[in-house]
Symmetry: C2
Subunit: 395 residues, 2 copies
């Protein structure tokens, strides 16, 4: 045996999505990319805001000493200052540059947070359906995953979360707007969660951390507001990414924001900085740190995503599919017309439609559509979606 046993087993487990992905490549080769409707990946196709390109061109030509040199492990002070200023204004809290640690996207941020917090055997609550990477991230640091179902409308089931908390519980991860459901947790739902965590923390005489994974914070529709987690709960930590806000997932830039009132703030922040270093990130990419400092008020045009969502929802509803209309992000989590979601995904594959089975997210009986694709892909896929559902009988 050469590679690590755990990695070997992960490789065989994650082979389902991989196979789907490989089938997609084969289909595109066979039929041409235009005749394959690929809704499998959350790779934003919406343009960066125009300010981004302008700043990139400007910055590329600028002469700055040590322009591409190492930055402090926590990131440039100016960038952290710009971000803390924006958060302070939004929340009314006294968030300073010290409370911000720049990260390689939200994926990097979550790994750094979990590394800083978890002792072996510590439990982390993950809500079903979940972003496929959470279990890996927790296991990376010898944590134990505690799955808890959400309600049928994918909102937080406070009682179920309460029942899962015990003396080994270190943290809960939430993700709103949610991947894969598009759900945004209401202010009431978040307040109830905060109360529960405070009460349990007092009883257990230790903080229970609320880790909020927020790459989609800016991608919301119909005037829905994403409640501030920092305002709601003292022991909250935000993992943010510019991947979706600025359509930059390839550039690996985001940050960690720590609640200024969090338990032992100074020590936690130092731990996050150390973990950024020793996990090999060292720090977030320098050029992108400079750019996001200048683009705190820029964002992609969300109307473009809303149009795609509406096109997709209208078409699928007409064909007879059942789903909750997403309030944010760019995913639709659709009930599979037959109980076996993997089977139905294979039926869609025969129509050259690529989606991901819900069971990959712990959401058996559903499938996920990532609608960050051309409008034409949505429109042209509708025939296949309609045919597939009409070929099932048990819906």
């Amino acid at each position: 045996m050469s590679i690590a046993k755990k990695i070997k087993s992960s490789m065989s487990q994650s082979s389902m999505i991989r196979k789907m992905f490989e089938e997609g490549i084969l289909l595109k080769k066979k039929y041409g990319a235009d005749h394959v409707y690929d809704f499998s990946l959350g790779n934003p196709n919406v343009e960066q805001p125009k300010e981004f390109k302008r700043e990139l061109i400007k910055l590329a030509a600028e002469n700055i000493p040590l322009k591409h040199g190492y930055t402090p492990n926590a990131g440039y002070p100016e960038t952290r200052q710009a971000i803390s200023g924006k958060i302070s204004k939004k929340t009314g809290l006294k968030v300073s540059a010290d409370h911000i640690v720049m990260s390689c996207g939200a994926g990097g941020a979550l790994n750094v947070i979990l590394k800083a917090l978890l002792d072996p055997g510590d439990e982390v609550i993950v809500l079903k359906p979940f972003f496929v990477e959470y279990p890996f991230y927790i296991e990376n640091y010898n944590g134990v995953i505690k799955y808890v179902n959400t309600k049928s409308d994918f909102s937080l089931d406070i009682e179920a979360i309460g029942r899962s908390i015990n003396k080994r519980t270190k943290a809960i991860i939430i993700n709103s707007p949610n991947n894969p459901t598009g759900r945004v947790y209401s202010k009431k739902n978040i307040t109830e969660l905060a109360r529960l965590l405070s009460r349990k923390g007092r009883a257990l005489k230790k903080p229970i951390y609320l880790i909020s994974d927020e790459p989609y914070a800016e991608i919301v529709y119909d005037g829905v507001k994403v409640p501030s987690l920092l305002n709601a709960y003292q022991n909250s930590i935000i993992a943010y990414s510019y991947s979706k806000t600025l359509s930059l997932p390839g550039e690996r830039i985001g940050y960690i924001a720590v609640n200024p009132k969090i338990h032992e703030a100074g020590e936690l922040i130092n731990a996050l900085i150390l973990c950024t270093r020793i996990l090999g990130f060292v720090h977030a990419p320098a050029l992108m740190q400079r750019i996001v400092a200048r683009l705190q008020n820029a964002a992609v045009d969300v109307k473009i995503y809303r149009k795609k969502r509406d096109l997709l929802c209208k078409g699928l509803a007409r064909a007879g599919y059942k789903f909750a209309k997403p309030e944010g992000a760019f995913y639709l989590f659709v009930k599979s017309p037959i109980p076996d979601d993997v089977e139905f995904v294979k039926m869609l594959l025969k129509k050259n439609i690529l989606v991901v089975p819900g069971s990959a997210f712990g959401g058996l009986g559903y499938f996920r559509i990532a609608y960050c694709v051309d409008d034409a892909t949505i429109v042209n896929a509708m025939k296949g979606f309609a045919e597939a559902i009409s070929e099932t009988t048990t819906y």
Copy 2:
């Protein structure tokens, strides 16, 4: 207790360098940056090759579909192709794009490699003196560090390495040109190591991996050649970074190159790709991947570093310091005039000179000078270096 116990203990252990760093900031505030001689950090001050800026400006303006989107976890095929072509040409081996996985610098590469290889309790040999991050990287994946001394000239002590190998040994990390010593291992030394590892591997019926950390591969002097590890040993894996070759440490770009003949190559490569994903790197930064693909033949002007090395070596030798003249990298590992290197570093601090005690690298009785600084800093620090040694009596 809120943060992880291991991180808490790491934070107290790594406080010595931190204190030095903080003292440096205080000194600079008090005396002005021009009057503080900071040799503590390996942050290259040499300009990027001119091709870099030209390509960055060009690329910033180009319209490419999904230009800043997710790349494959292993990196862009074109970038991997360009790198494998260069390595194939250099080594004569059939290295293909498949054998290359792009990484967030060498730090990212080493973490991905160790995550892919290590089962809990697996031993990794680290040679003293060592780059300070190796122990962290190994412990991140529950590996056990096995320290082995190098010889008095910092070359590989093959017999000592041989004695340290047992059935739990998974890998050895080497770093040539070396940080902190500047040593380049000779072809003979590398061949002996390869023979030893092959022999031990056969006896133990398992591969012993040679992980070669090569960020300084291009920074060598006086016509010294860095022997190819891929040619020397079948089970070799290279962790490379453009940080020093292109003076880009802030942009976090490098790669892993796997020997095409390595034990179970396909499975190992898939493991490296999976680990890049699940550690939260996701992939190396997209823009920098595009740039390095175009800059395979560019490098900083090494003559600039050589001049600094010569200035420093001449000055220190004249003052009576003892050291081996570095053959590569931009570090000088100097014998402390008194046995207690931390104490001597404090004496230098009183002369406003910042260096790192050798004990931080497991090299008791030495101190490290990073000479990637202005020539003026080297020249102006000489007075303080001379005074400090003259104030000691036991040299």
